[in-house]
Subunit: 239 residues, 4 copies
């Protein structure tokens, strides 16, 4: 399997895992930067992640134009992905989702903060982007590169950005990285909401946040949990 094949295989698996773990429902999408051409990225045609196969994967320029459309319908929110790859050379994969647990943190003043070690990599700060601030009344979708760049600017050097009344975008060095952070960010939100009901919450310190980021990205953890998520998704990769 070439490096490109491996990346595309992981991309399809990521679609299935994100759907099965409830990070995405019928909507949401995940992309990966081309491993040899950093000015391109891959993402499925407009299709629910749970149904995506290798045949659905399309290739795009960073301006979100398709390399070879062949009549396929494309996700409207490609600019989320293109604009982030443009602004963040360190980012290798982007997950956009509407995970239910995150929405309350996008529409209130409560800040999402790391409460469990497995959310290592979610970062010290999860900013909230409100499309209304810059673009007034819209349908909340990120439809233009200008909107995508505004989102990327709010994301800054963080790992995730909440989108008011809409959802969240998570980035990682690789597909497995972005998927892992997306899943545990969602879980962190659920547990934070539960814990806040019981009283003052003890969050991770800055040193712990850094140490858990390294731990959660280590092969000992990632390989074990990726095998588990793949198994649960019920998807059987070809190869």
């Amino acid at each position: 399997m070439t490096k490109l094949d491996a990346v595309l295989s992981d991309l399809v698996i990521a679609n299935r895992i994100l759907a099965h773990e409830g990070v995405v429902d019928g909507l949401g999408h995940v992309s990966v930067r081309h491993p040899e051409h950093p000015d391109r990225f891959f993402m499925a045609r407009s299709r629910s992640p749970e149904l995506v196969t290798l045949d659905d994967i399309m290739e795009f320029n960073l301006d979100c134009s398709p390399i070879d459309q062949r009549g396929r319908v494309m996700y409207g929110e490609r600019p989320i992905h293109g604009a982030i790859y443009e602004a963040r050379p360190d980012v290798g994969s982007v997950v956009h989702n509407h995970a239910h647990e995150l929405i309350p943190y996008s529409v209130t003043k409560s800040a999402l903060r790391q409460i469990i070690h497995m959310a290592g990599g979610m970062g010290r700060h999860v900013p909230v982007w409100d499309i209304r601030d810059e673009f007034g009344d819209t349908d909340l979708l990120v439809r233009t590169l200008e909107q995508g760049r505004s989102l990327a600017k709010t994301l800054g050097n963080n790992s995730a950005v909440l989108m008011r009344g809409h959802g969240c975008t998570v980035v990682g060095a690789s597909v497995r990285d972005a998927v892992r952070i997306a899943i545990y960010l969602m879980l962190n939100a659920r547990l934070q909401t539960d814990a806040m009901r019981l009283g003052d919450v003890c969050f991770l310190s800055e040193g712990e946040a850094q140490a858990t980021a390294n731990m959660a990205a280590s092969p000992l953890v990632v390989d074990r949990i990726w095998e588990y998520w793949l198994h649960r998704s019920g998807y059987l990769p070809d190869s």
Copy 2:
């Protein structure tokens, strides 16, 4: 497939989707107006939505009398559907459900309001109808056309009406429309309840409500998510 066949196929699929997504349980029902005879509508015989097949579909006049009963048992709450088709020529489909997330908004003074973009089409206002106001102590079912018309009056030009201690009725231009709004109205309620625990909530503006209504009804979104819901339901349409 004729237009009528397509409409009836969607109606059966709608039953399965609503059951699988938890909008209805063993009770609840969905109907569609006859595409050629606007003074008639289709709905299953008295059967749980999860089990409905094409053979179960019956045809009714707007006064809720059956065209050809053939001894089949009918839903007792047909007047919900007949009265709304009578009052609202723009309505092509009606979903009646007891979705759990909605009930708390039917028995308290908390107003259900749009918090996420995908609930586009739920409208700016979701009125609450209390059968006791006009009809005193009942079993809360809408058993007569008079009760159905009272409900339709409270529905007004909105997309949904809550029924105190009972459930909800949602309308749409088509079956897919009504199903989509019913599912996301339920999700909106869950997220609003969660968000209100965290502090003051930022709801969508009037302009955003209108723009998201258009977006959520667009083929780009509807086709993708209908394919997803159908797949999840496990139902295989004949065709």
Copy 3:
């Protein structure tokens, strides 16, 4: 199928339905009074409801002694059932469960009250029995007829009694009756808990409670929902 066969078939199905709907987990039990000998009742040998088959059904006297034990292990809490059949000639079936949603109402001063029409039959009052009041420190199980009679006394003429730190016991005229009330009592608790978070709750009036009790027990509703629950349980009766 004789009347006895039909009753026993319903009893096995009830075990499967209660397990699938989450009313019971590995523990809990359901019994039915003998249709011809009102001084006897049927219940499974000591086995998780999800696994009960016709072969597991045993027959008991009202003092909870087995008619023909044949070495089978018996539920320790048979006195719940025997004592209620003894005290309440109108009761044809008893369900004992630990449904999670009900526990909070057994350990706090919050009263469980009817909030939805489908909980018709749960009654105006759900008393709480605390075994400690009369028997001091125990393992909370109802192990003796004396304890069972104390529970039956607190149940009185109601449809359900909560047991502090333990669970709930529901009665009905028939198996289908008791199962229906047990399922909707659990749902009513969940919705009441959710609704109380939103503000003051509007409960059903006394007249509505009576009318919905009649409605929920009517064949139009019961037949439809029993078919649905049976289908969901995945159990195939021998017929």
Copy 4:
């Protein structure tokens, strides 16, 4: 089946049950002390519990060194297990998990206390261990025997210890014992959180805690519920 075979079979089943009941996800682990060599214990190689088979089981000394590694990757947190077996001769099995319901009690001042009879054996006191107290900023994993011994010290003679921002460790005389307590401890946490929303909570008395510990460990209960959990897990032991 020899005693050793029976113990190892239960260990594999325990992995499957804990995964299916949601006590562990892709992470977490369960171990058992060697029935003939109390200075050794068994635990899977580094693998998600849901996927563990008999072939994955490895044998360790109490210092957590493997008897015969054969290149297999090992769980990093073996010191949790080794240190507890060292400190507690009465302990025959250890479960380490990240059950979601427990996390809020690890990061707030709310004490977890017994609210239901089936949590018998969880003990009167569930201490919280914060790795930061003794070891400063870490990734929260228990990576050294020194850290394991610190955890074992906080566990003391209790049945469970919460780990701040991380999870929980439960001990029992046997695998079935530790599994049962782990599952009901999780459920107890959920119900306690729900009950505290409704008002002041009535917890079990000291006498009830002791009596329910005996009851919950009795064959009448354990055999019934172990059969149920095994069935639900879908795992078929070789026998």
